[in-house]
């Protein structure tokens, strides 16, 4: 379980996260939606310790993780804009991360096959297409079999086939009982993958609960309509 308590983040005068309280249940998939610039990525980066919160507590499985680093062993992260050392080949990159992790067991071979990256292994990162970079990011996030997986707009830039492959993998991980967190602007993806929905606007949580409840509440057949309605209510 990931708990955020009173999380605040200011970038200079700009308040990006405003007293955020959040619980992300274990063994389930939680989707985070919200307009651009609402603080989705900042929330994720705070959990990972990439962004240092101005105030507030972050707990993972009950343990306070602010300014710690060991806990990241449990997390696999796939960033929104995947940037990797340009001079490394894909193979070298995987090997390097394995060395950094102290040769933890990894299932990267299976993942490479799953995402069809075999032919890219010898290429340098700089020559890779955006979609293939995303796939490398997906492999990196999953290869150490972490308990918690965080995906920041994972399918942006993936072709439909890869996107389907990715979602298939995520469902597999869900069945294995992993905790999954993902942000996206594609509502059908949330519908397909997530059990819980979090709706963030301007660094505040506007909705947090099981997906089906939201759909009942708004009497909409589709999530897209429900979320669009919430956004409109926000703007009004």
């Amino acid at each position: 379980m990931i708990e955020l308590k009173g999380l605040k983040k200011n970038f200079g005068r700009l308040t990006v996260l405003d007293d955020l309280d959040l619980e992300i249940p274990s063994g389930q998939a939680t989707g985070i939606v919200g307009p651009n610039g609402s603080g989705k990525t900042t929330t994720i980066k705070s959990i990972l310790g990439l962004v240092k919160p101005t105030e507030g507590e972050i707990r993972i499985d009950g343990e306070l993780v602010n300014n710690r680093w060991e806990y990241r062993e449990k997390i696999g992260y796939m960033p929104q804009v995947a940037r990797y050392p340009e001079n490394m080949t894909v193979e070298e990159l995987f090997q390097f991360i394995k060395n950094i992790r102290g040769d933890q067991p990894s299932n990267e071979e299976e993942l490479i096959k799953h995402f069809g990256l075999e032919s890219e292994l010898k290429k340098r990162m700089r020559t890779l297409s955006g979609g293939n970079r995303q796939k490398v990011g997906a492999v990196l996030s999953m290869m150490f079999n972490p308990d918690i997986l965080i995906f920041d707009e994972p399918t942006a830039g993936l072709d439909p086939r890869s996107s389907v492959q990715f979602k298939k993998k995520v469902r597999e991980l869900k069945d294995q009982g992993k905790t999954i967190m993902l942000t996206t602007h594609i509502m059908s993806e949330i519908e397909e993958l997530a059990d819980h929905l979090i709706f963030i606007v301007e660094g505040k949580i506007k909705y947090h609960g099981p997906m089906d409840e939201l759909l009942n509440e708004h009497k909409e057949q589709r999530l897209e309509g429900a979320v669009a309605k919430m956004m409109e209510e926000e703007a009004a």
Binding site: K52, W69, E70, R72, P79, P85, N87, N99, I100
Partner: protein, 263 residues
Amino acid sequence: MKALTILNYQWKDLIRGKWIFGYALIYLLITDALIRFGGAGPKALLSISNVMLLLIPLVGMIYGALYLYQSREFTELLLAQPLNRKTLFWGLYGGLAVPLSAAFILGTLLPMLYNGMFFGEQIASILLLLVLGLILTLLFTGIGFWLGLAFFEDRIKGLGFALVGWLFLAVLYDGLVLLTIFVLGDYPIEKPMLALTMLNPIDLARITVLLEFDISALMGYTGAVFNRFFGSFYGMITAVTSMLIWLALPLYGATKRFRKMDF
């Protein structure tokens, strides 16, 4: 362990970039030329130290900042891994500072070795020169890192400050000291001048060299004051100690900043 993995990768990357060999080659050619034309005496050493006093701060600062910008992807990748930020910082710093130091030391030492200069009576002076170069490299790479981190989002500013900082410390500072002496020459300004020297690590290194070679004519005002105040031996000890304090400053500032930064 993890720091070593990072170092290993960064060194491979530097070697792949090849420019580090160019940097070593500059010292090699200059040292070789100076020894060839000026003989293997203290004169050559003095000329080498003059080159070093200009070149090391420039390369250290500019490349320190530039390297941090170049390693941005690498840094972001590793921050999401179970890795202490401190480990990552020292891995990055060592990844640049160690090869730069090695390039300087090898580039300067090799010609001295094959010219038979190293094993002469000047061995102490040569070692002092190498140690000074080493401290300067570590120090200015640290300042470069600090600037790079302070202007992480604004590369032009970071590099601009590095360049202006170098110009100030290496060139303008002496002019300012001279101007102060010229204007306030009638007052007892020895001690303030001493303090002014301590504020500039390049000056400290220069004075250490001058004290070692005992060239009072070239020592300039601050050097002479230094000599009179501390004597040759204690003057050198004081100067080197101040440099070490100087070394700690940017590294402390940079680590502190790196620990608190958002990526």
